[in-house]
């Protein structure tokens, strides 16, 4: 008789969040958009109607036509091709950078949260210092010093943004580290990395993801900011930010050459964030 007094009735069990892996419509839509861009980024070269640098038309900033679906840019190059081929930079570089930044940040954050002591102090101090230096400025110096190439770009962006995710990750990890189940693992004699990997990490996925979203946006923007200062992706290629930048003089004519890439950026960044906001609760709210 004790048996059944302390079991939760099936119905109530459900409520407690079992069947809640359902995903909202918005979330689904956003995932589709992201997927779309990723695919574009991957198969871009086969999709693009014209070579990226080719001047296809004598008149510039044209509005969409049958030959040039998104019009032409300031040199009379096909905008559609440029956006399609730019996808791999904005999508690729940004996601890569954001990913690296978050991975490093989170890893380091957890480690110094769990280790604590002088290690924690030193790391935190150093990272505070990094945060204190304006991003664009720092990026400018680094790239000017090392020279611009894709790896450098990704590296720099990641380097500039990992401190942010470190702070967040550390804060979260410090809290989780105090919870009993972590103590139990320690009492069991579990190794440091097991504790971090199996006990702490899974419980901060949600917030970390949310952080990833915003970080991603800022990286996309910083990328375009760098191209504003004449650094960034090598021509004739251009990330979307650079496309907006180089065609910005077309804004006066309301040229699609400047509006389209902006829309592309917006569509990507917005969907990434909304997608994360609409993740299934089960993935998101894993903090006890």
């Amino acid at each position: 008789m004790t048996k059944h007094t302390d079991t939760i009735p099936e119905t109530r069990r459900r409520m407690l969040g079992a069947g809640s892996l359902t995903i909202s419509v918005v979330g689904a839509m956003c995932f589709c958009i992201i997927l779309f861009w990723v695919v574009i980024a991957l198969i871009g070269p086969w999709l693009a109607p014209y070579p990226i640098g080719k001047i296809v038309s004598m008149d510039v900033f044209t509005s969409p036509s049958r030959d040039y679906l998104l019009g032409t840019d300031y040199l009379g190059r096909d905008m559609m091709s440029r956006i399609i081929l730019g996808a791999r930079y904005t999508v690729g570089v940004s996601i890569a950078a954001a990913f690296i930044a978050c991975t490093i940040g989170v890893a380091l954050g957890m480690i110094s949260a769990v280790l604590g002591g002088w290690f924690d102090t030193i790391v935190s101090r150093g990272i505070d210092a990094l945060i204190a230096i304006p991003h664009l400025m720092f990026g400018l110096v680094i790239i000017a010093a090392i020279g611009s190439s894709l790896p450098v770009l990704v590296g720099t962006l990641a380097f500039l943004y990992f401190p942010g995710s470190f702070r967040i990750a550390r804060a979260l990890a410090v809290n989780i580290n105090e919870l009993d189940f972590v103590q139990v693992a320690k009492a069991r004699g579990e190794g440091f990395f097991y504790t971090v990997r199996e006990e702490i990490l899974p419980n901060m996925i949600g917030p970390v993801l949310a952080d990833f979203g915003l970080r991603f946006v800022f990286i996309v923007l910083l990328l375009s900011g760098l191209s504003f200062l004449g650094l960034g992706v090598q021509p004739p290629n251009a990330d979307w930010g650079a496309l907006v930048r180089e065609n910005v003089s077309g804004l006066a004519y309301g040229a699609p050459a400047v509006i389209m890439p902006s829309l592309a950026i917006a569509s990507l960044t917005i969907s990434v964030n909304l997608a994360i906001d609409n993740l299934p609760r089960r993935l998101r709210d894993r903090l006890p």
Binding site: R125, G126, D128, A129, L130, I131, A132, I133, P134, H135, L136, M137, F138, L140, V141, I142, A144, A145, I146, L214, V217, F218, V220, L221, S224, G225, F228, L229, G241, V244, R245, V248, L251, A252, V258, S262, I265, A266, L268, T269, I270, N273, L274, D277
Partner: protein, 315 residues
């Protein structure tokens, strides 16, 4: 409590500044070319460069120069610019004022709005309004600054002639002029800065709204507004002010693009120039200023957090 914190913070600040200065120094020394070459430009014949280097003490080892600079800094003298012999202080003075002015105006404009949006979004969470706000924030932040700025200029300056296309800080003599001159840079900056504040405010507030004492307030007959403003908000201040501080720190050094487009003479551009001319003392001092600004903001934020939380206040 607070005094103790401030003291420790000062210690930390010094340390951080030191780290930053080293990082910056190393980074700038990695840059190709040096100030003598760049000042002489195409007239940089070897002997001319050599002569100028000597005059600028560039012939001494880097570490030595760093220590010299550090010594100067200790005595509160950042030295003089290598490219134009003007004391860094005078060089920065006016621009610092400009930067702070712009930052101040932007903050005064964006923070209240951001908070209001964040709070209301939290109050009516998961309503259409809430979704709208969170969508708008992302949308706004994901448009490149220079895009926003340029559009603003085209519409309000070129077409409508409402505002100037450039912001002449020294035109400002009255509040009216202030608003007129700053309208556009402030708008474009607010776009960038607000997003994080709004999101954090909302998140922090929703967090506390789940607390029993908020439910208790409702059960005492308090309306939604009262429950949020007098019960939830005071407990959410900590994270909120932190987000605000971080966002505002961006207004010091992160505004190069806006400064460029509106030709607004602030420190951010000054530092870019400094980097371009390898003007070490200038770069360093700017970096120090940004760093200080950041630390100050964060500290203020923490103080607010402490004041808002009796548990910390009465320790």
């Amino acid at each position: 409590m607070i005094t103790r914190m401030i003291l420790t913070r000062l210690g930390v600040a010094v340390l951080t500044l030191l780290i930053v200065s080293v990082v910056v120094f190393v980074a700038t020394n990695m840059l190709p070319g040096d100030v003598a070459q760049i000042v002489l430009g195409q007239a940089a014949t070897p002997e001319a460069v050599a002569g100028l280097r000597k005059a600028m003490h560039l012939d001494q080892p880097a570490v030595f120069r760093y220590i010299i600079w550090l010594g100067g800094m200790m005595t509160g003298n950042p030295g003089t610019s290598l490219v134009n012999d003007i004391p860094i202080v005078t060089l920065i003075g006016g621009r610092l004022h400009n930067t702070l002015l712009l930052a101040g105006v932007t903050a005064a404009f964006s923070v209240p709005i951001a908070l209001a949006l964040g709070i209301t979004a939290a109050m009516w969470r998961n309503t259409l309004y809430d979704r709208l706000v969170s969508f708008a924030t992302i949308a706004v932040v994901s448009v490149p600054e220079f895009m926003v700025a340029t559009i603003a200029v085209l519409i309000f300056a070129v077409r409508l002639h409402w505002f100037p296309a450039l912001s002449f800080a020294n035109d400002v003599h009255s509040l009216g002029e202030l608003l007129r001159v700053f309208a556009m840079p402030v708008i474009s900056l607010s776009f960038v800065v607000s997003a994080q504040m709004i999101r954090m405010t909302r998140a922090a507030l929703i967090d506390t709204l789940g607390q029993p004492f908020v439910e208790m307030a409702t059960l005492k007959g308090a309306g939604r507004v009262r429950a949020v403003l007098t019960h939830a908000l005071p407990n959410a201040i900590g994270p909120i002010v932190n987000a605000v501080a971080l966002s505002l720190s961006y207004l010091l050094g992160g505004v190069i693009i806006v400064e460029t487009i509106f030709n607004y003479p602030g420190i951010a551009k000054l530092m870019v120039d400094g980097v371009a001319t390898r003007d070490m003392p200038l770069i360093q001092t700017c970096a120090m200023i940004f760093c200080l600004g950041y630390l100050a903001l964060v500290t203020v934020a923490d103080i607010c957090a402490i004041l808002a939380n009796p548990r910390l206040r009465y320790k």
